[in-house]
């Protein structure tokens, strides 16, 4: 496939993820949008690995997956903790640091 088109696809995915992160109020959905942006970056790494003829890009994508897994574990437990004290997963509900 044409690598340029894959780059465009990755850009569109990154944009959709950013749009969701900016507009959705549910913390879980916003978090999933971050995952989508990570996936878009992974797509670029994989296609560039093919363009450059080396596997380093795939190794980097592999490490991104490991970091995403760790991030999700900690992030979700934070969301559960906030839900326990606020009874809501909306990002607007957490206003403890507000003046």
């Amino acid at each position: 496939m044409n690598p340029e088109l894959v780059l465009w696809l990755a850009a569109i995915l990154f944009g959709i993820g950013a749009l969701g992160l900016l507009t959705r109020r549910n913390a879980l959905v916003a978090f999933m949008c971050v995952e989508l942006m990570l996936n878009a970056a992974n797509l670029v790494l994989v296609v560039m690995s093919e363009v450059h003829g080396g596997l380093d890009g795939q190794v980097a994508a592999f490490f991104v997956m490991v970091v995403a897994a760790a991030e999700v574990v900690v992030g979700l437990s934070i969301i559960v903790m906030v839900y326990r004290s606020r009874r809501s997963t909306s990002v607007d509900a957490a206003n403890l640091l507000k003046l």
């Binding site: 496939m1 044409n2 780059l7 696809l9 990154f14 944009g15 994989v46 795939q58």
Partner: protein, 265 residues
Amino acid sequence: MIPLSVEADIVFWICGPLVIAGALGLVLFRKAVYSALSMAFAMVNLAALYAAMEAPLLAAAQVIVYTGAIMMLFLFVLMLVGVDQADSLVETIKGQRIWAGIGVLGVIGLIIAGIGHAVIPVEGLEAANNLYGGNVQSLAALIFGRYVFGFELTSALLITAAVGAMVLAQHARLVPKISQRERAQLRMDAYAEQGVHPGALPSSGVYALNNSIAAPALLPDGSVSPESVSEVLDGRGATLDAPAMSSATAQAFAAVDAATKGELE
């Protein structure tokens, strides 16, 4: 630009739009569960794209780690923290959606204009894959060779994340847990002060036609023992009429006695 292969092209034109559809579903669905499922759909299609781009190990890891583990963890937490909470449509900042859309379109335009054409002639992965006999073997040689330090660091990261999740998920007890010894002491105190029976509660009644736990036991004087039935059943009004069952049995015995009296004598 030189196309990599015809088959990969076909996969791209099928899975690429599906990935975008899944991503749009993630953003547009009001219910969080639908969002999560459409995200999982997008990730499976991304795995197909990886497979078409000569990355079979990453395709498998994408399905197993992302779709299998991460998205299911998301769904699990969604079920835990209120699956019925639909997103509010009220904008907290005025015009946020419009400006977010414009900004994102700008970002997409910038990325495509900036690096969308920065592709040098494609080299392909055949040489790199064949170096150690295959994609998985060559990736393993890189991960456990050049990137072994980073690999070790990820193990530290994963352990830290696991410990962190356990610490965060733990919540403080509001009242201290009562031990078995303290429970026994409380029972004896109640016996000493109010005369409450310290032993086990009486079991439910057993009748000729019924031995349900909803049937209360009868005391020697024929009255119902209220402690023999769970308070929950009592509250629901599910308790059966024990004296009626008992008297039905007594009547049956009396009838049998009356019928057989003449024969026996």
